[in-house]
């Protein structure tokens, strides 16, 4: 392996890692408040991408399109909370998970009806062209994806660490009963978590569309990948989820760079599943049961 290939793999793992980290964090914010896996997280990403493409194609400037897409996806997140999650707030976790699945079915159906089954794409931000960096070829959109996702993840960490809402969210994650006892409204936090997850998902969706394209059916597979990333790092802690995302990104980039064919999609999740089973509480294990 020469240095250019190694560099290519390095950039690729940073890029994939930041995407998976953001994907996992979307699942984390909902899980931390509700202890429920939101199987519709991938649908937020799909909606973000598809709506951006939709607005962009009717002539609205790209960044305005993205903001509108994020706003509408947050609205979808609120619908998920109000009409699916809230009526079942006293039901079991399994019921709630399947309700998020029912929401995913409906969103997929609407997306298929509105946009058809074709894959859609966007130009790279600011029309950045592919360029060479120390022998590695970088697709124009990649630095934007990596950079902006990095900023979002950092922003989320500052939010979790420095703001009262972030601390409340962490309190719910660490000790749900205790959080309730000190006066944190679980219902308001759940509403907030769903909007945050939807907004984050939509932003990721808009970011990755120029790279990976998007279609109505990408949601559930993305959720599955995000779940693996979150599980491996430990879904009870934001640091764990981000670490899991980058581990996943690294393993996928390395296998994609070294194994021919589409096998990186087989090997990477398999390795992650094995790591997870071997170390069930996540890479950042604490004494707390996950």
């Amino acid at each position: 392996m020469n240095s250019a290939t190694a560099l290519q793999i390095f950039f690729s793992s940073l890029n994939l890692g930041s995407i998976y980290a953001a994907l996992g964090l979307g699942l984390f914010v909902v899980y931390s408040v509700t202890r429920v896996l939101n199987l519709a997280q991938g649908e937020f990403i799909m909606l973000g991408g598809m709506l951006t493409v939709n607005f962009y194609q009717v002539g609205i400037p790209l960044f305005v399109s993205i903001v509108m897409a994020i706003a509408l996806t947050i609205l979808a997140g609120l619908v998920l909370y109000r009409f699916f999650f809230y009526p079942a707030r006293r039901s079991s976790g399994a019921t709630k998970v399947f309700l998020t699945l029912s929401f995913a079915f409906i969103v997929d159906g609407i997306a298929l009806r509105v946009w058809g089954w074709e894959f859609r794409s966007l130009p790279a931000f600011f029309n950045t062209q592919s360029f060479q960096l120390w022998g590695a070829t970088i697709f124009g959109q990649t630095p934007w994806v990596t950079g902006i996702t990095f900023l979002m993840v950092t922003g989320l960490f500052l939010f979790f660490g420095r703001t009262i809402w972030g601390k409340a969210l962490r309190a719910c994650a660490n000790e749900p009963l205790g959080a309730r006892l000190v006066g944190i409204s679980i219902e308001r936090m759940t509403l907030f978590a769903f909007s945050l997850a939807a907004g984050l998902g939509a932003a990721v969706g808009a970011l990755i569309t120029p790279l990976t394209m998007t279609s109505y059916s990408i949601g559930l597979p993305l959720t599955a990948k995000g779940l693996l990333a979150a599980f491996v790092g430990g879904i009870t802690r934001a640091e764990g989820v981000v670490l899991g995302g980058f581990v996943y990104g690294m393993i996928e980039a390395v296998t994609a760079g070294t194994v021919p064919g589409g096998y990186h999609n087989v090997i990477a999740p398999l390795i992650l599943a094995i790591i997870f089973v071997a170390r069930r509480r996540g890479l950042l294990a604490t004494s707390q049961e996950g």
Partner: protein, 346 residues
């Protein structure tokens, strides 16, 4: 002392009567299913074959999800395993289709045993997430193994199953094949639910008031039972997959993607997880709904029904979860006495 006995008698309904009623229902059902083809046109039979195939997988899933209280969102992978192994064995290695069907079930069962050994420690939602991810792994595996599976293009010309002069290109043959398998597996599943193993599985099912720790204390080998029921449900799915592959003779990876697993979960929940009968109700409801939409939507709106099907599935799933969490079967449960009444045995 006497008071206690009286209480127990009140709680436990007379077993013999309800079992007889249940057996009668079963015989009646089998008779109806076997006589339906007489006088039926091909279209309803084709639909019934689909219902039967989905019923087989859902029945396996009900053993895993209903009886043992686990969650799987990856059983489409085992369905695909059966289909692809059957396809590969018959087209590449020219093994007889019937033998391929049994070998596929054996191999799929072994794969499930291996996976089960690794993931049996996982519970509830975490297990659901991991099975979902493993379904993704399976999809990418069959998509990547282009030389063996034809990649995303799929496999074609899979030889049909045959019996004398009848082959599975004959609709009636398929109908009887699928529904005989459904009825055999239904009888097996019902008996299993009522056996020592069934009670052991219920004991570790947290949704049925059980607990893994409590079951362990009572001497139930939790690991063995969980792995075993996982394998059994995979074998059901594999059988359906093999029959499907020899029936349609064309298979492609998209049929076995995570969305298909979601469909299976949909059938299990709408039908009801508490009894193997739920699988038939769920499969019947969802396939029936699909067919109605496929007829209605083009006539009413003038376009393909795919999008409307997804929306309808989502709405039905949500309504069921919110208003009838026990599924369709729980409607019948109110009218018919329970069969699960044998706690006094052994």
């Amino acid at each position: 002392m006497f008071a206690n006995t009286k209480v127990i008698k009140d709680i436990i309904p007379p077993k013999i009567a309800s079992a007889k009623l249940h057996n009668l229902a079963l015989v009646l059902f089998a008779t109806v299913m076997m006589t339906i083809p007489f006088g039926a046109s091909p279209y309803p039979l084709t639909v019934m074959v689909d219902v039967g195939l989905y019923s087989i997988i859902s029945m396996g899933l009900i053993l895993f999800m209903g009886l043992a209280g686990q969650i799987s969102l990856g059983h489409a992978a085992f369905f695909g395993c059966g289909a692809y192994i059957s396809g590969i064995l018959t087209t590449e290695y020219h093994i007889a289709p019937w033998l391929a069907l049994f070998l596929a079930a054996l191999i799929t069962g072994s794969i499930a045993a291996l996976i089960g050994r690794l993931i049996f420690r996982l519970h509830g939602l975490i297990l659901a997430g991991v099975t979902l991810a493993l379904n993704l792994v399976f999809f990418y595996l069959v998509s990547s193994l282009v030389d063996v599976t034809g990649g995303t293009m799929g496999m074609m010309n899979i030889p049909p199953l045959s019996w004398g002069q009848f082959t599975s290109q004959n609709l009636l043959f398929n109908y009887y094949l699928v529904w005989i398998v459904v009825i055999l597996l239904l009888v097996f599943s019902l008996n299993l639910a009522d056996s020592r193993a069934g009670r052991a599985l219920r004991a570790l099912n947290i949704h049925a008031g059980g607990s893994e720790y409590a079951a362990q204390v009572l001497g139930v080998n939790v690991t063995r039972y969980k792995v075993w029921v996982f394998v059994l449900s995979a074998v059901y799915a594999s059988l359906a997959g093999s029959i499907y592959a020899h029936y349609t003779r064309i298979i492609e990876p998209n049929s076995f993607m995570v969305q298909s697993s979601a469909m299976l979960a949909l059938m299990v929940i709408t039908g009801g997880r508490s009894s193997p009968w739920g699988a038939l109700l769920g499969a019947g409801l969802i396939v029936g709904l699909r067919q109605i939409l496929r007829e209605l939507i083009p006539a009413l709106v003038g376009e393909l029904s795919g999008a409307y099907e997804l929306i309808a599935y989502g709405i039905i799933l949500a309504l069921m979860l919110l208003f009838l969490p026990g599924g369709l079967i729980s409607l019948g449960r109110r009218a018919v006495p329970k069969r699960e009444s044998s706690q006094d045995e052994d």
